[in-house]
Each structure stands twice: as C-alpha cells, then as structure tokens.
C-alpha cells in the first residue's frame, strides 16, 4: 500500500495554543494515500484541534501542513478543500429541506444558461452515489432520510468536490450495527480508490477492524504511531487513558454505601436509545454511568427526567411506579437533571444569577401569590454560599460568569428544590481544573448528605474520583454494573467501557 508518490497528509511540528494553553505541541502526523489512519486520544488530547488545523478552520501557531505535496499556508477552509481535504462532520452540515442532489452540489450546481440544470445535477449525484455503491435516491429530501443516509450524503458531498483525504469524526456514533457494516464496506471501497481516510474514534473494535495504522495523541503531543497489527487493544487503551489526571483528584477508599435505602428502582426501562435498563439508585451513593458516545448514557438521563417517554418497564420509588411523562413529573418525584449543555438547557443566560437560582422553586417563594423579593434574596444567598459560587453581583447576568461558576449555578438551582436523586450529565465538561475538583467535592458532599447522585461522564478521572458504583452502557443496554473496588484506575474503566479484559 505505501506508494512512492507524495504523502496524502504531512503535518510536522504543528503547534497551537488557546489563551496561552498549549493544545498542540509539536505534533507530527502523516497519512498515506489509500490508508485508513485512526486518530485516537483522550478528551482534550488535541485530536479535533489537529483536524481543524488540517481543515483550515484554525490558524496554526507554528508547523507545516502539506496535502498531496501541496503546502497549505493560510488558515482557509477553501484552500484546504481545494487541496482535496473533505470532512464528514459529526454534527451534520446538511440542509434538511433540500434534496440529496441539491445538498451534494450546494453552491457548486451545474448551470445551463445561468440556471441550475437539475437533470444533470441529479444524474451526477446518482453517479457519485453509484460509485459509492449505496442506494440513496438523489431526489429524496434529506430531512426525510434516516441519519445513516445523511452521513452517506455528507461523504458524497465531499467526494463531489474531489476530496482525496476524508476526515471522519466518530462516524459510527449514531449508526446501528448494520449501518456500521455498510459504512465500513464503503470505507474499503474508497480506500481502494486511493482515498486517504483519517478515522477518529474511541471504539477499539472499530479501529481494529478498519484502520491500517493508528496515531495516539496525549496532552497535545505524539504518543505513538503504529501499524494496527503491531499494537494490542490493551496498549491502545493504555495510551488513551494514561493521561495526567487533570484535576488533583484520585480514588480514595470510601465507606461502602451499600446500606442506603433504595431511592429509585429502575426495572427494565426502555425508551428512545435505551433498552431494558435495570439498576438501582441508593441514598448516599454516587453512581457513575460510563459508555462510549451513542451508548445511551444521555438518553437514559432523558428518560429518567421525563423528557423522552418510557415505552416499557417502570421506575419504582417507595414501592410505587412513578409516572414520568414530563420534567414536571420528575421534579415532583424528587428527581433533578443537571443537563449536558448548561448554556442551552441549564441557564437563562441573560437573566441574573438570582433569577436563575430560584427559577425551579418560584412556587415556594411567593407571598400573596406574588414572588417575594426578600425570599428570593435569602434563598439565592444561601445557595451561593453553600456552593461557594464566585459571584460579585448576584443581580448581574449569569452569562458574565466563568464556565465553572455557571455550572455551579446550575447545580445550585436544583439543590434549592431539595431533590432526592440528582442526575448529572457531563457535570465537568468545559470547566476549569480548579472547578472540576470542586464539583467532585460537591458531588461527594451531596452523597454524604444522603442524596442519590447519578453522574454521566466521559471524563474518567473525575468518575473514578467520585463514584461508588459504575454502570457500563453499551448499545443502549446496561452491559455491566461494577463496584468501585473493581475499578481502581482510569485504565480499568476504559477497558470495561470497551468491553476488553486487562
């Protein structure tokens, strides 16, 4: 497979900093034509930054980028595209109201007498799709197609622009098993046509099935580049997992929380993206939910909080099955959700810290039917103090706070409702190191105070620092339920998530 021609991609000594923090530190990355090259690394290892440099979305601070021997100097999406780099986006970049053919040729439509020649466009789209050997009707509206076909349309769009390097970021996250097989078949065919594929994934089984070589990044530096037949899954996982603990937190033995009363008994619950999940949440424990992207973690939280409907099974509390048809039901049942996207789902950014803190409990802060200002003030002061939120003026918009303090506001606002069970989805995402360890402490404190806390996170060091038990999710199911004593390091957890033995 190695050829004498130029490399498909050559990146050398690439450096990139954000606000003085080095995200890429002299990274080398080379991809051969006709090769599937996996790019791996933990969260924050620098994978997506490296790819954004390649795609011209970020300007590199130093280093050298070549695509098929052609130097790319400026940070320009157009120049990268012209050199043959195509990206299959994780969040899809298609127009749902246009057809497949219209999307493939968007802004590059074949014209005749100044007008779009739809017939030629459809025919050329059909040719590209035929070359990919996929059965998609070019005249179908994209919004009406299943997600797997959106992705294929994205690939077709990249190919129509003569892409010779395709970057795929977690392409299988939202695909079903047979769709993954179809995608891999397509990748093989593209490979045979000499197209280089950079495959970003956390899934060991997929990397082993599809990739020729792998490059692992750690903390913005090269850790290793190796051919797949020279490296074991365990070695790869160790490479991904072995990053320095971001927060100064580590596993400390905890008194077993086994004695706590069962707060929630989840029995064979199925919902969108969740299949027959069975587990219990006990008072005084932190239950960690770990799994790869698309494994059903977030979907589980949505079902517990009444956002997506539970189609079968039951959530039982105090011997009574709960009715969880809406978030209001869940709040009444003593369940609070601290959502994944705090800016979108957790906060009203333009409202004051005070208003945000007291939003879920306005009913209890009334006097003669009106919101009592003094009660709001007292409650918000109490919460600000309890979580030591650094806020100069509680009446200033919450938008002005740092990410970490915003996250604390989201947690605090739910504490005010005195929930018994807190479900936290990625509570430490996008917050600084100091706040991370504070959030870990807050979670432990909550458990000590007798709450049941369910933490969903892909930040394994934090999970290990705070959890008493782990649910490992895979394909929407609870694959395993592990005790903290069985998971002593990030590596143990990563192996469990991947379904590998140490």
């Amino acid at each position: 497979m190695p050829t004498d021609g130029p490399l498909a991609v050559r990146m050398a000594d690439v450096c990139k900093s954000f606000d003085g923090v080095k995200v890429l530190d002299g990274v080398h990355f080379e991809v051969l034509p006709g090769e599937v090259h996996a790019l791996a690394g933990g969260n924050g290892a620098g994978k997506s930054t490296l790819m954004k440099v390649l795609l011209g979305a970020y300007r590199r601070d130093a280093g050298h980028v070549e695509v098929f021997g052609r130097r790319l100097d400026a940070a320009s999406i157009h120049a990268a595209k012209a050199a043959g780099v195509g990206m299959v986006y994780q969040e899809f970049s298609l127009i749902p109201t246009l057809t497949v053919a219209q999307n493939i040729f968007l802004d590059a439509e074949p014209l005749r007498a100044g007008l779009i020649d739809d017939a030629v466009m459809r025919r050329r789209a059909a040719e590209i799709l035929a070359r990919m050997e996929v059965a998609i009707d070019p005249a179908a509206e994209v919004g009406s197609l299943p997600t797997a076909q959106w992705q294929l349309t994205e690939i077709a769009k990249a190919l129509s622009q003569d892409a010779r390097v395709l970057v795929m970021d977690e392409p299988t996250a939202s695909l079903a098993k047979h769709e993954v097989d179809a995608l891999f078949g397509l990748i093989e065919r593209l490979k045979a046509q000499g197209i280089a594929i950079i495959y970003i994934s956390h899934r060991m089984d997929e990397i082993h099935r599809i990739a020729d070589r792998i490059t692992i990044l750690r903390n913005g530096r090269n850790l290793v580049t190796a051919a797949l037949d020279e490296i074991t899954p365990q070695e790869i996982v160790a490479g991904i997992a072995g990053r320095e603990l971001a927060a100064q937190v580590s596993y400390g033995p905890r008194s077993a929380a086994r004695e706590g009363k069962v707060l929630l008994d989840v029995r064979e619950v199925s919902a969108e993206g969740v299949r027959e999940a069975t587990f219990q949440v006990r008072a005084g424990e932190v239950l960690g939910v770990a799994g790869l992207m698309g494994s059903g973690r977030t979907e589980l939280a949505r079902a517990l909080f009444g956002i997506s409907a539970i189609t079968s099974g039951a959530v039982v509390k105090d011997g009574q099955p709960l009715r969880l048809a809406s978030p209001a039901d869940a709040i009444r049942a003593g369940i609070a959700l601290i959502p994944e996207d705090r800016r979108l789902q957790g906060l009203v950014l333009d409202h004051s810290v005070r208003t945000n803190l007291t939003l879920p409990m306005l009913a209890s802060l009334r006097r003669w039917g009106l919101v009592a200002v003094d009660k709001v003030r007292a409650m918000s002061e109490h919460l600000i103090e309890q979580l030591s939120i650094a806020v100069a003026r509680p009446d200033a918009p919450v938008r002005l706070l740092s990410g970490g303090n915003q996250q604390k506001v989201v947690i605090a606002k739910w504490l005010g409702t005195e929930p018994e069970v807190l479900v936290m989805d990625e509570p430490t995402a996008g917050v600084d190191v100091g706040t991370k360890s504070e959030i870990v402490r807050i979670v432990r404190d909550l458990a000590r105070a007798g709450k049941g806390v369910v933490v969903i996170s892909s930040e394994y060091p934090e999970l290990i620092a705070m959890c008493d038990r782990y649910l490992i999710m895979r394909d929407g199911r609870v694959a395993e339920c592990l005790d903290a004593r069985e998971i002593r390091s990030e590596l143990d957890l990563e192996l469990a998530v991947q379904g590998l033995s140490a």
Binding site: I77, S93, T99, L115, D137, A139, E141, S144
Partner: protein, 326 residues
C-alpha cells in the same frame, strides 16, 4: 416535484398524519384550498355573479399588488427573516413617484420610485446582515419611519398623478383583455419563481434559511444572501407602491398600509416555512389569490368588512393548521 419521485422505502420514514397519496400537505394546501373554495363559491354564489368574467378579473386585479409584495416576502421568509416594512415602503414609493413626476417628469418619477426600494432595502439589509440586528426589529422600525416620512413630506395630502402615460403603464391600462396590473404581477411572479427554484441564488437563500452554519460551511456567503433578500423585498414593495399610484392615479402615504400582514399570510399559506428553508413563489401567488377569493366571496355573500376580517382570520389559521407536517 421531487417528493413525488421518492421511492417507497423513504416514504414510510415521513411523518404524515394524513394518508400518503403523494400530497405534501404543507406545500399543496394552498392549491387544494383554492380549488375547494372556488368550487364552493361557484355553487353558492353563482347567482350573485361570482363566475362572471368581470368578477374573476376583479379578483385577479385585487390580488395582484399583494402578490408582487409576496414574491419579495417569499425570499425573505425562505431565508428565515421577516420584512414588516413592505406596506409603508409601498406608500412611500407611491408619493415619491407622484411628487417627482409632477416636478421632473415621467422617467425621473419611475427612477425615483425604484430608488426608494433600493435605498430602504440597502438600509434594512445592512442592519440585518452586517450590524446583525434581528430583521423583525429593523423592519418594525422602518415600518414607522417610511410611513412617517411619507406623511410628513406630503403633509398627509394625496399627490395626484396627471401623467396618463404613467397611469396606463402602471396599473390602469390593459394588455389585451388583461388588466396591466395583472401583467406586472405575472412578470414579478415568473421572475421570482425561476430565481428561487432554478438559480443558484435561490438555492443559497433556502440553504441559508434552513441551516445557516451548514450553508456557511458549504462556502455560501450568508451575510450577502441576507442583504440581498432584504433588497429584493423592499424593491418589490416599491414596485407595489408604484402600481398603487398608477391604478389610483395618485400617491398617498396610506397606500399599502396593512399589506405586510396580507403578504406574510399569503406566503405562509403558500407553503413557505416561517422558520425558513422551504419556499415557493407560485405558492405565495396562490396564497394571495386564495385570500382575495375569500374576500370577494364574502362581499358577494353580503358580509360587512368587520365580519370578513373574522372569517378570513379563521380560514388562515385553519389552513395553516391543516398543513402542519409534524
């Protein structure tokens, strides 16, 4: 058209609440509504002269000015923006044309009318696309500013147009048996329909309206697109004002007042999504025709204007509710 060709496999993916017989309700409700209402009136109001050529031409004539505005509005709404200033801009264009004709003659008057549209469009477009103020606010302000200027410079007085070349060209004359107004709006609709459906610009407008980020990633300069749709809308509104002036042989600041709501209703009835990304100029034309048809029928049925408004409101909500896709 494309939806009809979709293979069966894709069809069961669609979330129609209606039986799927190749009808996209959101897109086609306006045509179905038009035919149904037309037949109903033909049966119920045949004796009142509903089917007479004079009455039918009257419907066409009365719908045509709103149809011109609706062509521009289709681009704006398809691009996920809104233009509330169109009615006022029509009024301003009508008095500008009238006043300039009386002082500087025919050609200068026509140029001045068009200029009103271009200037207002450039202001609206710059504020929306480059200063990034929501179009709702920009055009709400412009609604007041344009009509205010028109009333101020005319001292609220109508401005007569004595130039018969102008009035017969714009609105009062006929081409064959067709009223000139109808010909003008037919031209506007034809150009608008081709541009939206077949030109690259039209595709860019809809892409920007559906998913601005994705459009940007596909290489589309979405700011330029937003600027241009505001220009198109204001220019169409100015053209409508010039037609008012020609038909009523004068310019008045009140001309066009309330037309923004009729045009928006026509566009939405015609299947253009208020959230952008989907639009049809022909649909908007039929939206305008359907509303005029209903007004006409209600007049023949003897309802007074207050009752007409109520019935029209109910029909619009009903039609849009029926057309809901999801």
């Amino acid at each position: 058209m494309t939806a009809l060709a979709a293979p069966p496999k894709d069809k069961d993916r669609r979330t129609f609440t209606w039986p799927d017989i190749g009808i996209d309700w959101r897109r086609d409700i306006v045509y179905i509504g038009f035919v149904v209402v037309f037949i109903a009136f033909a049966i119920l109001l045949g004796d009142e002269g509903f089917l007479s050529t004079a009455n039918l031409l009257n419907i066409l004539r009365q719908a045509s000015i709103v149809a011109v505005i609706a062509v521009g509005m289709t681009f704006v709404i398809g691009c996920a923006e809104i233009d509330l200033s169109v009615g006022s801009v029509a009024g301003l264009a009508s008095i500008t044309t009238a006043m300039v004709i009386s002082r500087y003659g025919l050609v200068a008057g026509i140029i001045a009318g068009v200029l009103v549209g271009l200037v207002v469009g450039a202001i609206n477009g710059s504020l929306v696309a480059f200063v990034r103020i929501p179009s709702f606010l920009v055009t709400l302000a412009m609604l007041g500013v344009a009509v205010g200027i028109a009333q101020w410079v005319t001292d609220s007085a109508p401005q007569p147009i004595l130039d018969s070349t102008y009035t017969s060209m714009f609105g009062s004359g006929t081409v064959g048996f067709l009223p000139g107004l109808v010909v003008w709006s037919a031209v506007a609709v034809a150009v608008g329909a081709v541009v939206l459906k077949k030109a690259r610009f039209g595709r860019q407008v809809l892409a920007t309206g559906a998913n601005r980020t994705a459009a940007e990633y596909s290489g589309i300069n979405t700011r330029a697109i937003k600027f241009r749709v505001m220009m198109i809308s204001a220019t169409a509104a100015a053209m409508a004002g010039m037609l008012y002036a020609g038909r009523l042989q004068s310019g008045r600041f009140q001309f066009g007042s309330g037309d923004e709501m009729n045009a928006i209703a026509a566009v939405i009835l015609g299947g253009t999504a208020l959230s952008g990304g989907r639009g049809s100029v022909i649909g908007s034309l039929f939206g305008a025709l359907l509303m005029q048809l209903i007004t006409n029928g209600l007049i023949l049925a003897g309802l007074d204007p207050s009752q007409q408004q109520v019935v029209r409101g109910v029909i619009i909500v009903l039609a849009v509710a029926l057309a809901r896709n999801k």
